[in-house]
């Protein structure tokens, strides 16, 4: 089976294409599958494509061909194609953020990866310590959310740095329960994918029992708003996109069994992140 991917970017249509690929591979067993990436492919989406192909490769022979040298080199630099028999290439320009597949309990390695691959890049602009900390914190909150809630085998991450556009794209994917299943199972509700995502973004909303929680996604949402960034969340058939100007949600044609969280951070953010009312150690409890 040979599948040629159309142009795929971080748009709703791009995600729909990859989720359609996921669907088309579901019934393939002991087949030769060749994925042809011959058009534009946003590098950070390697995390979602990797998650999809990883599952397919459990019982198929999966190959990836990338005729365009420019695209191929980017996917060799970020390490994605190394999983499919290509050599790794040194990223001289230091704009790729390595494709990574991690077990959920590898949070320390993940944190080091975020710092090394994202925040300590040679071309990463000099940003305030607080902005750097807020970016790292937001990403780690999402990783830990997947660790706690998803019951996934692996967590996939990848990013891309755009120095001229002053932005970093970063994506975390898991193939776990997803918001909808988790919430409907916990509360005996019948939420749609979009309703489940919206509920999960509410501060303090959590499916955990006996322990408070539900702050991580709310923190990300608030930070994205201040930073003028963007977040896209896909879970089951729900798609939600939030930026500082608007919020849009859609029902996808096909559901994705798991969760995709794509974050776009601005590096030209001059917010001081100094808090309006200073909190002292004695004001906490």
């Amino acid at each position: 089976m040979e599948i040629s991917l159309p142009s795929i970017d971080n748009s709703r249509e791009g995600y729909e294409e990859l989720i359609a690929l996921n669907k088309s591979l579901e019934d393939s067993f002991f087949d030769d599958i060749e994925i042809n990436i011959s058009h534009w492919f946003s590098a950070n989406l390697c995390a979602l494509l990797g998650c999809i192909l990883d599952k397919a490769a459990r019982c198929n022979n999966v190959k990836v061909s990338v005729p365009s040298e420019k695209t191929r080199r980017i996917l060799q630099k970020n390490g994605f194609l190394a999983y499919f028999g290509y050599e790794k290439i040194y990223d001289y320009y230091d704009t790729t953020v390595r494709y990574l597949r991690l077990k959920p309990n590898e949070e320390r390695f993940f944190n080091e990866y975020v710092i090394k691959e994202l925040l300590r890049k040679r071309k990463f602009p000099i940003v305030s310590d607080k902005l750097e900390k807020k970016i790292a914190e937001s990403i780690c909150e999402i990783f830990v959310n997947a660790q706690i809630h998803s019951e996934t085998d692996y967590i996939y991450a990848c990013g891309q740095f755009f120095p001229r556009e002053n932005k970093i794209n970063f994506i975390i994917v898991d193939r776990g329960l997803g918001f909808r299943k988790r919430i409907n199972s916990r509360f005996s509700t019948n939420f749609s994918g979009v309703e489940a995502i919206k509920w999960a973004l509410g501060s303090g909303n959590s499916t955990k029992q006996g322990v408070p929680g539900g702050i991580g996604l709310a923190i990300l949402k608030e930070f994205i708003n201040l930073n003028r960034g963007k977040v896209q969340i896909i879970s089951d058939n729900g798609f939600l996109q939030i930026d500082s100007q608007s919020e849009a949600s859609y029902n996808l044609d096909e559901p994705f069994a798991g969760t995709v969280i794509h974050m776009e951070f601005r590096t030209d953010d001059n917010n001081s992140y100094i808090l309006s009312g200073e909190i002292g150690c004695n004001d906490i409890f």
């Binding site: 509410g202 408070p212 702050i215 808090l275």
Partner: protein, 114 residues
Amino acid sequence: MKKIELRVYQIVGDEICVSADDGHRVYEIVRNFISEKKKVVLSFLNVTMLTSAFLNTAIGQLYGSFSGEDIKSCLSVSGLSELDLALLKRVVENAKCYYKDPQKMEKTIKEVLG
């Protein structure tokens, strides 16, 4: 009464304090001290990364075991940056709401359903 210093770095064994499981280890130790009405300072010296998930289990769930007054009189923190203090404050406020109104989740679900 002299305060006892509990070092988060020592309990977790790392500067990265992000997982709920690591937070629970801190919770179990702090809980033992508060149960005995001992005054403790939880030191975050050398901790470079925190998440709400860690703080929820380390400190937030104390509000399920003790009253706010007991926690306030026995527990204090040190070594946190301004941003981490703000995160902890938020975790604490969220925990107080959570244990004050255990039916809150069901209520928010009903709100979404209209």
